[in-house]
């Protein structure tokens, strides 16, 4: 039956837990040394760094990612720096939240695998203030709460908006495996939510073992 069920997608559970295909690390900075090289030394901190994290900063080539962690103070990156590096910003994958329209033709829930499920059915919201593909999410570092791994995002808003929606999908825009735009979870809003020339905000629940938006027990 068409519609949305609140669920963590099965493919996400498999890929996040057993294949490392999703990185939720929040943005943070560190310093390192490296002049026109892929081997960076004197890395000030590995906290929050993981293979695949995106890197940016002065003389850091666009699209550079952590390719290997060589030691507690050294990493190997995917592209050589273009000069002397200093302070570098790292961040995990880029996640987005797409809104689903009223009366969708598709079925979304645990079996959903990709954001393309929504676009394939023309089920994404369309309206003033809403941009196709949804809104980018700001990662909050994963943590542990009562034996459960959880993660969180900063609250988001659409302003000067006019649209109606019934649900949403959180998905990863960073392709780390066979699927582009792999789905993470789907959330039913419990009815039609309509905003008219105003502000539509989505507030993420308390990040704990019982309520976090994404959690693995």
């Amino acid at each position: 039956m068409a519609g949305t069920t609140t669920a963590v997608c099965n493919s996400f559970k498999r890929d996040a837990t057993f294949s490392g295909l999703h990185r939720f690390n929040q943005s943070r900075t560190f310093t390192a040394t490296g002049v026109s090289t892929q081997t960076w030394t004197s890395v000030s901190a590995l906290t929050g760094l993981a293979v695949g994290c995106f890197l940016s900063g002065s003389n850091v080539a666009a699209g550079t990612r952590v390719a290997d962690i060589l030691s507690s103070t050294s990493i190997f990156v995917s592209k050589a720096s273009t000069g002397a590096i200093g302070t570098v910003t790292s961040v995990g994958d880029i996640f987005k939240l797409a809104l689903i329209k009223v009366g969708p033709t598709g079925t979304y829930g645990a079996a959903s695998t990709t954001y393309a499920d929504i676009t394939g059915n023309s089920d994404e919201v369309s309206g003033t203030g809403y941009t196709a593909t949804g809104i980018a999410l700001t990662n909050v570092d994963p943590s542990i709460s009562t034996n459960t791994a959880i993660t969180d995002f900063a609250d988001v808003s659409w302003t000067s908006a006019s649209f109606s929606t019934t649900a949403c999908m959180i998905y990863n825009t960073t392709q780390n495996g066979p699927l582009a735009t792999p789905a993470c979870s789907t959330h039913d809003f419990g009815g039609t939510q309509t905003v008219t020339a105003g502000t539509f905000s989505l507030v993420f629940p308390t990040p704990d073992a019982s309520n976090a938006i994404l959690r693995v027990a």
């Binding site: 900063a154 502000t199 989505l202 976090a212």
Partner: protein, 166 residues
């Protein structure tokens, strides 16, 4: 794992709505188990557990509006303060760092919220340093969100303006 929706037609959320949401997040730190009480327990034990749970629910229902009442003026200060900055600096304000300290002292707000828990069954929990840190994060995050909404609304209005002639 359900997000909460806030909708305000015709403009940005009023301070009251922001305050309600922040208060909701804060009282959600008071965990009330909703799993069924073990039926194998003696009746008086089950009754004691249910009574305690109900007392916690009542506490949450009582304290949430009290917290919201404290926060309204601070959310108002953030909103109006950010609008003032946007009026003074125009589009340049959109490039300034998002710093809630421009409008509010988060520690001072925390000092107003904390006494609400004194004398309650959760006073010890809310006196812990790590809980204060969590409260500080919630306040900081929500004040920042309010600033973002003001900036985004300002940017939306600017799109409708014709570009300046050179």
């Amino acid at each position: 794992m359900q997000p909460r929706i806030m909708i305000t037609n015709g403009g940005t959320h009023p301070p009251e709505k922001h305050a309600d949401t922040t208060a909701w997040k804060i009282v959600d730190l008071i965990r009330v188990p909703e799993t069924p009480v073990d039926p194998a327990l003696p009746e008086e034990d089950r009754l004691a557990i249910e009574t305690n749970r109900e007392a916690m629910r009542q506490l949450k229902a009582t304290i949430e509006p009290q917290i919201a009442a404290v926060l309204v003026k601070h959310h108002g200060a953030v909103q109006h303060g950010e609008r003032g900055k946007l009026k003074d600096h125009g589009h340049d304000r959109l490039t300034h760092d998002l710093d809630v300290a421009d409008h509010v002292d988060v520690d001072a707000v925390l000092a107003e919220v904390n006494p609400l828990f004194a004398g309650t069954s959760v006073a010890v929990h809310f006196a812990k340093a790590e809980v204060h840190e969590r409260l500080r994060d919630i306040l900081n995050d929500d004040f920042t969100h309010a600033m973002k909404i003001e900036r985004s609304t300002h940017a939306d209005a600017s799109k409708s303006l014709a570009p300046a002639k050179v």
